[in-house]
């Protein structure tokens, strides 16, 4: 039981403890590293589902009303359903588990030198609540009338009453799935935040905490304080559906805009919830693969703090054409433009960190640089959407679709793959294949851009989003070939992920054994064994220095682990 599991933590614990039953070790584990892997695998599985919905939509957009291989004709109502589930899955069931949960779980305790989360059982519970949420969501495909078709934002009145879409159970399960997911991540958030505050190793002051941990904690904070109103809003939406209340139904005196406000009050910070962890991985990778101290450590942490604070007061830029009070548009335009300042600062710090370094373009670094490039495009196109004047033209077109894929995709997949490759040796104790990794990167990078770049053009040409059949609109005929091109690129993009799957599973079982610190990095996780045993560290790590001391002139080695004592002291004890 409990006790035995906890004792099984010496460095030999890995195989020698027969009493660590399979179910406790792999299923109901309280070990943060195992929970991280559980989240990772669940998230990657959901990515397959999300990709399948994308495939079906793209098929329909390029070859309208022909049977998509493996499914059949995508009818208009099914298209709505696919859009909804695609958005929901990609944001909440891929982005959140892979980036927030898996990364925070794996990285925070290791980087701060803790043995585990401070509430390990809560951690386990949070994972299983998440599983329940996944089950709810997937079940909604199979209930009568199918899954929710109200868009991933679930705007009422469409989502508030069965009479509009004919879907009851799908919507109810969709709301329940979100509610469970939020409960799960709230538990997770409490854990990450409390662990960060309480369990740092001796000497690890706030100014020595690695940036990855800072940014992961920032993501948790963004989530933590923004999700509450949406939970309340979701309860009201649920009651509108099941109890016949009319919170969001104008004919009953309700206010549909209220949901939009509650949703986006969460929705904008949510963008940072998936973005900051991607950034976290990239920030950790850049100094390691350019062998240079990071530029502007404090500046970046403070910029993040400012961005977090501002992220709570920009939400209505998603609603410029919603019919909200026009007097609100001005302040929200201003805050939106303001919030790009801290991110610009962070990006400049990153570029400065790269400058003049001895850059090694190994797979994690490739993903990191790819992240920077693609996200920059996403961020720049956001400027058009941020100001109310041009937003009114672009809103509801494929320009928006292209924009948010240029922000989400880099964050979730470029950032995610960067993190997976970078921490792969630590996670699984083996090395991934560098060659397959590079092939996978270039396939993804090239075809991601082929897929989404033309969409900017299609969007500014007037193609509206969430339409099931572009062939119904004369003005969209000009984009026929472009749409086919986009679709084929998307197929290759999705197919290219097979390379990753092969690399991933082959390396887990067959990859060459990894040493403790294969990338010669400074942070504490690299001082633990690969993979770290239950309990992580054999002796208490003590931190003597900041995380980014690379290529110091007075050192033979070009890196100085955080737990290496100062020279004088080392000589004294030696």
């Amino acid at each position: 039981m409990e006790g035995n599991r906890h004792q099984a933590r010496g460095n030999s614990a890995h195989h020698s403890h027969g009493d660590e039953k399979f179910i406790w070790k792999y299923v109901f584990s309280t070990d943060h590293k195992m929970i991280a892997k559980q989240y990772l695998f669940t998230g990657l599985f959901m990515a397959l589902v999300g990709a399948f919905t994308a495939y079906l939509m793209r098929w329909q957009l390029a070859y309208p009303n022909t049977a998509a291989p493996g499914w059949g004709v995508v009818t208009a109502d099914k298209f709505n359903m696919l859009v909804t589930m695609h958005g929901t899955i990609m944001v909440f069931f891929v982005g959140m588990p892979v980036l927030v949960a898996a990364l925070s779980n794996f990285v925070i305790p290791l980087q701060i030198g803790a043995r585990d989360m401070v509430f390990p059982r809560l951690n386990m519970l949070s994972y299983w609540v998440f599983v329940a949420s996944v089950v709810c969501l997937l079940a909604s495909f199979f209930v009568p009338a199918g899954a929710s078709a109200c868009g991933w934002t679930g705007y009422p009145p469409l989502s508030a009453s069965q009479e509009y879409t004919g879907i009851f159970w799908g919507v109810v399960l969709w709301i329940l799935a979100l509610a469970l997911e939020f409960a799960s991540f709230t538990m997770g958030g409490i854990n990450y935040l409390a662990t960060f505050m309480c369990a740092r190793a001796k000497g690890l002051t706030y100014s020595r905490v690695p940036l990855a941990t800072w940014f992961l904690v920032g993501a948790s904070l963004a989530f933590f304080f923004s999700v509450g109103p949406l939970i309340a809003g979701a309860i009201m939406l649920l009651l509108d559906n099941v109890a016949g209340t009319g919170f969001y139904l104008p004919q009953k005196g309700g206010e549909p805009l209220l949901w939009q406000h509650l949703f986006w009050f969460f929705g904008h910070p949510e963008v940072y919830v998936v973005f900051l962890p991607g950034l976290a991985a990239v920030l950790e990778i850049i100094p390691v693969f350019s062998r240079k101290p990071i530029f502007g450590y404090r500046t970046m942490v403070w910029s993040m703090a400012v961005a977090l604070a501002l992220s709570y007061v920009v939400w209505a830029h998603h609603m410029f054409i919603s019919g909200m009070d026009p007097r609100l548009a001005m302040p929200f335009s201003i805050t939106t433009i303001l919030i790009s300042v801290p991110f610009a600062i962070i990006i400049f710090c990153m570029l400065a960190s790269l400058r003049g370094g001895s850059i090694r373009l190994a797979t994690p670094m490739l993903w990191a640089v790819g992240f920077l490039v693609t996200f920059l495009i996403g961020g720049l196109t956001g400027i058009f959407l941020g100001s109310a004047a041009s937003n009114i033209y672009f809103h509801g077109t494929y320009f928006v679709v292209a924009h948010f894929h240029y922000t989400f995709f880099p964050a979730v997949f470029f950032g995610g793959f960067a993190a997976i490759h970078f921490w792969f040796p630590k996670m699984f104790g083996r090395m991934y294949s560098e060659r397959l990794g590079k092939i996978h990167f270039w396939l993804t990078f090239v075809f991601f851009n082929c897929t989404f770049w033309p969409i900017f053009q299609i969007g500014s040409g007037g193609m509206i989003r969430r339409i099931a059949d572009p062939s119904q609109y004369r003005i969209l005929d000009q984009f026929k070939t472009l749409n086919v091109f986009v679709t084929i690129s998307a197929f290759i993009l999705i197919a290219g992920q097979i390379v990753f799957v092969i690399n991933f599973f082959w390396s887990i079982f067959r990859g060459p054994a990894a040493e403790a610190n294969p990338f010669r990095a400074n942070t504490l996780e690299w001082s633990a064994a690969s993979p770290p045993p239950h309990g992580n560290f054999t002796a208490a790590p003590v931190v003597y220095r900041g995380p980014y001391e690379y290529s110091l002139p007075d050192r033979a080695e070009d890196f100085v682990p955080q737990n290496e004592p100062p020279l004088a002291q080392a000589e004294g004890t030696a």
């Binding site: 043995r115 509430f119 206010e255 003590v542």
Partner: protein
């Protein structure tokens, strides 16, 4: 290795459990904040809702407020007796708190029943939708609180609040006892970097018998549940005037 004895006092330090509860309360504020905020916004928009609010009985609402306030008092008394290690009193106060929680729920369902019998349901109009949603959400929290309190109460009855004094096999109420020796190997944090704010956590301490929940005596949880219970009370303190007194 730090060997610490469990002397839990308010010395400006807080345990991880307490920190967790406060984070929980922080997130609950946002949940209730969203619901209450929506109500306030629409209530301000509809002065005519006063008619509906007039249907709510202020004396019954006040009575319920008093019940919940008093239960907060008994809860804090239970916590006070944790410090004195008075198991009997702890149990008595916990039970009293839980019972008053039940009385609160009883009165609430009496009110619900009265509304239903007058044909007033959540879908009657927006005011009643808010009334049932807000009080229902609050009632769910009361139920959760009662459950937690009753669990602690059974721990108290079975004398599991503290680990047994060595050699005796039972806890020794009244006597301060040796406390538990926790060998903290879970984290290596240095109080100086935390500004002395947070006590070292002990989640991975060498596990004692079952009653040393997470290395801390169960008795410590009375404070945590108490914090939650008071929070639920505070929510009601605001709900009562918002719903009942704005007629």
């Amino acid at each position: 290795m730090i060997v610490q004895t469990a002397a839990v006092e308010n010395s400006g330090e807080i345990s991880t459990g307490k920190l967790g509860i406060w984070w929980l309360i922080g997130s609950e504020i946002m949940i209730f904040g969203g619901a209450i905020g929506s109500f306030i916004l629409l209530r301000l928009a509809h002065p005519d809702w006063a008619d509906n609010a007039g249907h709510l009985s202020v004396p019954i609402g006040s009575l319920n407020t008093l019940v919940l306030l008093t239960s907060s008092y008994t809860m804090v008394k239970a916590f006070e007796n944790v410090k004195k290690r008075d198991r009997k009193k702890i149990c008595r106060f916990l039970l009293a708190t839980a019972l008053m929680g039940l009385v609160f729920l009883g009165i609430k369902s009496f009110e619900y029943h009265g509304k239903f019998s007058h044909g007033i349901y959540p879908n009657t109009n927006l005011f009643w939708a808010f009334y049932f949603t807000l009080t229902g959400l609050h009632a769910l929290h009361v139920i959760a609180g009662i459950t937690a309190i009753l669990i602690l109460w059974t721990f108290g009855l079975r004398d599991r609040l503290w680990p047994p004094a060595p050699g005796t096999g039972t806890a020794s109420p009244g006597s301060p006892g040796p406390g538990i020796d926790i060998i903290d190997i879970s984290n290596f944090s240095d109080p100086s970097i935390r500004g002395g704010i947070i006590r070292p956590n002990v989640n991975m301490s060498i596990p004692g018998p079952r009653w040393s929940g997470g290395g801390r005596p169960i008795a410590d949880r009375i404070e945590l549940v108490g914090l939650y219970w008071h929070f639920v009370d505070v929510v009601w303190i605001f709900l009562f005037p918002l719903l009942y007194l704005t007629a």
